[in-house]
């Protein structure tokens, strides 16, 4: 699974939020911050992470990722991809 596939999965998972906020999925660049943008809150983010884990069937470890980087689409996808490779 590439970082791009992970991004597509995130967009699919957040479809309702994007639609409700009127955000075009194409506008989601790598430095788009899911929380700072107000698109989702911390609780939604938690569910997103859990759904990524369910989809991939692995336990993600975010220990080394800073809270600031974790919620940016680019670094989130990159981090998830690294862990898939490690599996």
């Amino acid at each position: 699974m590439t970082a791009e596939d992970i991004k597509l999965f995130i967009i699919e998972s957040l479809q309702d939020h994007l639609q409700n906020a009127g955000v075009d999925p194409k506008s989601l660049t790598d430095d788009f911050d899911l929380l700072d943008s107000g698109l989702i809150d911390s609780m939604n983010f938690l569910h997103l992470v859990v759904s990524i884990e369910d989809r991939l069937g692995i336990d993600l470890n975010f220990e080394d990722l800073s809270p600031e980087e974790m919620t940016k689409i680019g670094s989130l996808c990159h981090h998830v991809q690294l862990q898939i490779n490690d599996e």
Partner: protein
Amino acid sequence: MDCLAIRIFVESGSRLIATTMLSFCCYHRAHAKTDSTMNSKHLANGFYESSLRYSDRPALSIDGQEVSYGQLAHFAQGLSQQLQAECQNDDVHLTAVFGQRSQTTYAGILAALFAGHGYVPLNPDFPINRLQGMLERSQCRSMIVDKHALSSLADLLDGGCQPLLVILPDNLQLLELRERYPQHLFRSATDVSSSQVRKPCQLGHTAYLLFTSGSTGIPKGVKVSHENVCHFLQSAQARYQLSYKDRVSQTFALTFDLSVFDLFLAWGAGACICVPSAKELMKPGKYINREQLTLWFSVPSTALFMKTFGELKPDKYTTLHWSLFCGEALPVELANHWSLAAPNSVVENLYGPTELTIACTVHRFRSDDRLQYGEGGNKSNLVPIGEPLPGMQAMIVDENFEKVAVGTQGELMMTGPQLTAGYLNDLEKTGESFIHLPDHNETYYRTGDSVIRRTAKAPIEYIGRLDNQIQINGHRVELGEIESIIRSVGKVDEAVAVGWPQTENGIGGVVVFVQAPKFDRKLIFANLKSHLPNYMTPSRIEVVERFPINSNGKIDRNALIELLAETQK
């Protein structure tokens, strides 16, 4: 006797003797040199005392810098003098503090209290309509605004509120505001004359006013008196024995009454409150260690975040002496993970609605609680809510307000010195929840929580809600409030909100069902933003042909939840 020895002593079970020991050897020692202010009950007295005794020690750690008691007291005193100079009439009133997690906000809260006012926290993240309603209904006549709230200030004032004294310590550009809103009086920090810190004005009765979700669509105001809150703080200090060496987390939003614990328990003991940023709060592991926190207090959801993000590993947080949770149900396994991650800390589960002032029962978690309350049989898998705090009384009753037998489920009713006086200007709602029981002299508060005491000596266990209230990330949410707003902004006859998804420790969000062939989804979501805070905004709206009905002829919410669960599969 040091604090650790006392903790072990308390844990050994000799509660009465231990409490007596605590009150003599620690509480009195800590307050040995106090003057008469300690006798009068006022929320800011503890801070005032600490500002004299620990002037150079840190009171606040925020944005990477520490603010000493002396500095914070001085800042608060300046703001307080402005409040007092401009609000000279004698009748006591309330001051809104519009801001969050900033030095100005913390000083603003203290300033209001120093001036003898109660404070009303207004969260800039809340929708403007909601804030306007709170400002109007509280009848505040003054407001302190921090930098986070500056951009929303004009929208708030455009609501046409009562004439206000508005103090903006972080803004020097007042000319435009003065021209645009001539009915209000604006002051900046430069208007503050520095002077000696004075004892808090003891005039007012109300310490703070908070709003909780209301089923009719309008948040309910709860006024908490100095007596209420000082009683709680005294019990909490006797239990937790904080000192000037402690470093206390400040995780709760200021609109959430658990923040009063963070601020005033710490400040009363000369301890430092440590304020993580919103993002650090989601993944606070590094923060706990960097700041060397000794007391952690949060909603269980934060622990769940940490577990999910791989931050609850054994022996990670060795500086913590106390780990406290409140605001939501605490799963046994989560408590166990936490106690392994913070091996030197005592883990406690607190419980209490705003109406009963911060927290009114507590249970100390022990590893054998896993066997007692963990998964299996009819066990709840939740840490019990425990026993009432000193002075508070609990009663478990059936629907006729008759006491139930031990081992029978019932509604938890509570009374005691932490019981507040009822809802702001709402006799009807007050009458529904603050009940005078036959054969009892005291008024009891109906918590709406279903609980059980399995044996006479067993702690009280939380079972669930009796109504349509849910907790999301510690926030109390009346589903009726969401439904009422959807009906009005969506122009639909009926809307049913359910808590979804269901998580390990409760509810993660809200989904709304409507039974309307046509409705404008975009219009609803565009309008919801100005009525509901993010955590109450539904993640989606589902259309059903017909609402399922249960045997009582009511809309079957459980069937709707099952529908969501099936769709997820």
